[in-house]
Amino acid sequence: MTIDSMRDRPPEGGLVQLLTPEGERVEHPDYPLDLSAEDVRGLYRDLVLVRAIDREAVALTRQGELGLWASLLGQEAAQIGSGRALTAQDMVFPTYREHGVAYCRGVDPLKLLGMFRGVNHAGWDPAEHGFHLYTIVIGSQTLHAAGYAMGIQRDGLLGTPNAGAAIAYFGDGATSQGDVNEAFVFASVFNAPVVFFCQNNQWAISEPLERQSRIPLYRRAQGFGFPGVRVDGNDVFACLAVTRRALENARTGQGPTLVEAYTYRMGAHTTTDDPTRYRLRTDEEAWKLKDPIERVRAYLRRSGLADDAFLASVEAEGKDIAADLRTRCRALPDPRPEAIFENVYAAPHALMTEEQEAFAAYLASFEEEVA
């Protein structure tokens, strides 16, 4: 093979898909998936509820209750499918858009809203949920996942029932970051139990995938020496099956996998973004036909696994959760001013004490004037 013959080769490989956009269940020889009726209904409920949470957060931002929100609209299947593949021993390293995975890990969505409201910078206990803090600087968390996986190796648990794996979430834009490539190297040479779960939603704010890569992203893995697979990111079944396999490989000492979940960011990058400036409405319409929730609903109806009453009850539950979230979000108290100085260091720190005391005295001086 010569350099010239490599150029402009068409992309290889297909998309792993177990549920078509029309809601037809299809098999894939490498990814058998046996789901009970209850499992399917559960996945459907998850998808609907996280969309309801997300929609409410967007509304709260429009109403001034949140400073910003990064909507997951369109990526529900990628997040619920991969999130439901996790066990309690696994550790998630998310970006700032993994609201569906957070939901799967039992993180109260109010905590996500608190961060975007400006109450704190995150504020959940990663160990309690197996869900690390949202990471805003693009790609940094992939190294944390690789390092955490190196820790799992050193704990000597791989191959045992208590083995966990790390899973790093990131987007197509992040694959251009040095940290992501370094994480691939570390994970590869140490054969660390980590799954790199890339949600390729086609857009890094306004920049299309073509600005990040000339080859399909899953094929990057080959160059680093571990498997890469592309899955239909709008197919919750396929995302579940593929992630489950990748995690199991990691937990049994077979090293990292790159999963490229091929999806689409139906909303804006964040609530401050305006996609009409850089992409066509027709593209959005085309992807709307591949909606991750509609196809499960069609499958449920087609297969008789759920009736209208079930579907209606899930819709109602979504409305209730959103209403409850709205109430609790508005009731979130502003943090105390002293919180600025708290938890900067784990052990006492003279400068923090000095500045906190001076600030408290300064604030108190106003109270005295009023009195």
Binding site: S140, A146, G147, Y148, A149, M150, G178, E342, A350, L351
Partner: protein, 327 residues
Amino acid sequence: MTTLTLGRALNEGMRRAMEDDPKVLVMGEDVGRLGGVFRVTDGLQKDFGEERVIDTPLAESGIVGTAIGLALRGYRPVCEIQFDGFVFPAADQIITQLAKMHLRSLGAVKLPVVVRIPCGGGIGAVEHHSESPEAYFAHTAGLRVVACSNAADAYTMIRRAIASPDPVIFFEPKRRYWDKAEVSTDVALSDLPDLHAAQVVQPGDDVTVLAYGPSVKTCLEAAAAAAAEGRSLEVIDLRSLNPLDVDTVEASVARTGRCVVVHEAPVFAGFGAELAARITERCFYRLEAPVLRVGGFSTPYPPSRLEDHYLPDLDRVLDAVDRTFAW
């Protein structure tokens, strides 16, 4: 007491920490089989194995980023950045991730990561091997920043740093790695001196000279030369830049009324500026002269044939001392 070089004292300190706590890891480029380019980790991989003394891929952001992940899993990584000028690829992981994670988790996450950085010039090295980047890190809330100056402190400070629940940026004066001193190696961790306490290493009455890392020895030599001329310098080894032991500094300057700050880093917006400002606030009416700073010029570090002109030496310290009296 044992006579050890500064580099060996660091080695013994890490060894002791690894013996005391199986979660302590050493990681970096060439730290394993080679024992580090300065041999500071010599023999550790042989004794503790490849799982605990990790030769990493050649990627500084990767070293610190994976160290964070290991710390999240309960380990206490000690990272070696091979040279000062190589820390910048890791700056994002240090400043944006390592320094802030405890706060972002509202205290739930602790990151006991040590980042060791050989720093400073004076070894005739090529570009990027002689820098003093301490001010960048001292400016970053969430990090503790310390600098050892001698073998005895190197041993105690590295043990204290590894035991810290907070991330510590640990500067090592590379041109002093081979300097020897008496070191007590049979001290329990709890009996070691406070990591963040400054030390008066040469008592004196006329001028307070503040230094840390490689400059401390220079200042002690300056104090000896000044003593021969009848002038008494009090030399304080700050040891810790963040937090800063301002009380020890204030007690000295309030008595002497004069202060000279010495560091290898450029003077402009350097750590000496912070010292000068704080001393001025605390000792304004007791100062006989402004706080003077002696340091590297506000230029990139020069080629090594010029570094003797760039680095503060005995004469430049004494010149500044003279100027405080001429005010």
